[in-house]
């Protein structure tokens, strides 16, 4: 059974980076840029569409179920403290 990869995994095939953080920062920057100028509702929709596209790309239901469980567990854990700031 395939397992969810929870190790740092960003990169471009064939490229190397002097600083390990660079490809992850590139992705995060691109993600934030993708939300530029959107309303909160549009941003939520963008995130949802992105989840669905990436899930389809992964395809393997074992991996996806593991990701869903890990993501949900963290939300339940920190829910109480995050809520107070919004």
């Amino acid at each position: 059974m395939n397992r969810l990869n929870t190790e740092p995994n960003f990169g471009v095939p064939g490229q190397r980076h002097r600083q390990a953080y660079t490809p992850g920062d590139d992705f995060y920057d691109a993600l934030i840029q993708a939300h530029q100028g959107l309303t909160d509702a549009q941003s939520e929709l963008l995130n949802a569409r992105l989840v669905l596209l990436l899930a389809n790309h992964i395809g393997d239901l074992d991996v996806l179920r593991e990701a869903l469980a890990l993501a949900r567990q963290g939300v339940v854990d920190v829910d109480a403290t995050t809520a107070r700031r919004d």
Binding site: P8, D25, Y28, D29, I32, S43, T81, T82, D86
Partner: protein, 563 residues
């Protein structure tokens, strides 16, 4: 007055140009005796270029400003002759720890490998650094250091720059063949020339508190930088703690844009904040005194071009970054490292003025990299929208659980030298090499033993001009060709890098690569040859020595027109 530091007062001297009939012409004037201008002046003097260095003030940096000096900057300080002093006084650290609320989510090591002389980072209050630079500059007769001489007008021309300088005893004129503007964020030179600097102001405020502790949270030899997102002692914002010299600790508190800077500077209020940090971190028994308090905002911006004819902008006058990443003073000092050897060749008529355009190209690329990284850090710390904050908090929550999350936590990507891989001065590789000593990269240090039998380091054997690193002993024909290169119009100084135990015949400069690290880092085999620029960056490399190829690479690295 600080408890741990007394500011020196330097004497203004009467300018010899006052009342002179003719305007004096000098090869180089540097405006601004901060860390960047002083580094430029020392570098110029060491390379044989006399300097007039003017500054409107009469002392070193006031308050708590620059803190962190990166490995590459320390290597430059070694070349300038003050590396040991900075490292001895400063606090060495390599490990940074990042916390979210009360959990550690991420840590980094700036120098994960051994075999480098200098550590990843040294913390030192800016006033100490500037004082050491001033004392070094004053020991060099080629530097005419003028305190309380204020630049009031700059008129650029085709063959030089006309300056007017105001002093307590009157105004004088000076004609500079070349002008280096190291006069900071509000550069007089930049404004006088009507030049733009573009970018953005970040809508956030930070409180700085320097405190003297009466105890040690952790021992000096295990110093770490600590960064907190949303800590219990400062909910909803971030905070940062650095140890500096003399047990002075610098704590930065993010305040948010709406904070009232005056109210935040109230000493009782600051003391309460500092007390909360110490108590929450388990240091309730440690007392403190406030050394310094200020509130700052910052901008991320750069000039479109750093060279304007005979005026060269370095450091904050040319580019400004957020403080997260220690990329301000470090990048400014690296600017001067890049610029001064080029200027010396141009002044000596050994290279065309176009070589100075490569200063703009190379350090412009470095500035873009610094701006990108420091802007990203700032965006992570101060999310600009609701969704950005949700994503940031998601990263932090994942970071406590999986390594994939940790890789995205951005609490500052600390200053590393630019690789300059796209520089027109580089000669592209013809053969394959592993590792990171690509053309444009600063040469990695390595432990070596010199001909005198003493253990030392590789980098101090470079930097005085172009250096040819040749791995292994050359034969007689190669030796003749290498010797000829040393006598060229632009000298190339040979240095043989030999395996442990091997020695070169008399007449050669050589070192033994005692741990094999120079060869490993350069992916060198016997015969491998590197051309190292005067600023210790790699210009070219080959698997075999070829004198014509070396001459071609020197010509390329100095922008000689083709024969």
């Amino acid at each position: 007055m600080l408890k741990t530091y007394t500011w020196p007062r330097y004497q203004a001297r009467r300018a010899p140009e006052l009342g002179a009939a003719a305007v004096r012409r000098v090869p180089l004037v540097i405006v601004g005796a901060g860390p960047v201008g002083l580094s430029a002046a020392i570098d110029a003097a060491l390379r044989g270029l006399p300097v007039v260095l003017i500054d409107e003030d009469n002392t070193v940096s006031i308050g708590s400003r620059g803190v962190c000096y990166a490995k590459r900057t320390l290597e430059i300080f070694d070349r300038l002759g003050l590396g040991d002093r900075v490292v001895a006084k400063g606090v060495t650290w390599n490990v940074g720890r990042t916390f979210h609320r009360d959990r550690e989510v991420f840590s980094f090591n700036l120098l994960p490998e051994a075999g480098h002389h200098r550590p990843g980072m040294v913390n030192l209050q800016q006033y100490h650094l500037e004082q050491y630079l001033v004392e070094r500059a004053m020991a060099l007769p080629a530097i005419d250091l003028r305190w309380q001489h204020k630049l009031v007008s700059v008129t650029p021309g085709d063959d030089g720059v006309a300056l007017e300088v105001e002093t307590a005893e009157g105004r004088y004129a000076l004609q500079a063949d070349w002008l280096i503007a190291a006069d900071g964020t509000r550069s007089t030179v930049r404004r006088q020339m009507g030049l733009d600097i573009e970018g953005k102001v970040f809508q956030d405020r930070f409180l700085i508190a320097d405190v003297v502790l009466d105890g040690e949270p952790f021992p000096l030899d295990r110093t770490e930088r600590r960064f907190w997102f949303d800590p219990p002692f400062h909910p909803g914002e971030s905070a940062l703690m650095h140890r500096q010299a003399d047990n002075v600790w610098r704590i930065d508190f993010q305040l948010g844009w709406d904070a009232d800077p005056e109210a935040e500077k109230d000493p009782d209020r600051v003391r309460a904040r500092v007390r909360a940090v110490l108590d929450q971190q388990g240091f309730a028994a440690i007392g403190f005194e406030l050394e310094w308090v200020s509130v700052y905002t910052f901008q991320c911006r750069r000039m479109p071009r750093f060279r304007h004819g005979r005026v060269l902008f370095v450091g904050d006058s040319a580019h400004q970054v957020s403080p997260f990443g220690a990329r301000g003073a470090n990048s400014g000092i690296q600017d001067t490292d890049n610029l001064v050897w080029k200027l010396k060749l141009v002044v000596d008529g050994l290279a065309p003025a176009a070589l100075l355009d490569s200063y703009d190209t190379e350090r412009g690329a470095a500035a873009d990299e610094n701006l990108l990284n420091s802007t990203r850090s700032t965006d992570f710390m101060t999310p600009k929208s609701r969704v950005a904050r949700v994503l940031r908090d998601a990263v932090l929550s994942l970071a406590a659980e999986v390594r994939a999350g940790r890789a995205l936590v951005n609490s500052g990507r600390l200053s590393v030298p630019a690789l300059l891989v796209d520089s027109p001065l580089n000669t592209p590789d013809d053969e394959a090499f592993d590792g990171w000593m690509v053309p444009g990269a600063p040469l990695d240090d390595a432990p070596v033993q010199g001909a005198d039998g003493r253990a030392g380091w590789l980098l101090p054997h470079t930097g005085h001009g172009f250096v040819l690193l040749r791995f292994g002993l050359p034969d007689a024909i190669e030796t003749t060709a290498i010797d000829a290169l040393a006598r060229g119009r632009i000298a190339v100084h040979p240095l043989l890098v030999l395996p442990p135990g091997e020695r070169a015949p008399a007449g050669h400069a050589w070192v033994q690569d005692i741990e094999g690290l120079a060869a490993t880092r350069c992916d060198a085999r016997p015969g491998t040859t590197y051309l190292i620029r005067p600023d210790q960056h790699v210009a070219a490399r080959w698997r075999h020595f070829d004198a014509a190829a070396v001459r071609g690479a020197v010509a390329r690295a100095t922008r000689q027109s083709p024969p």
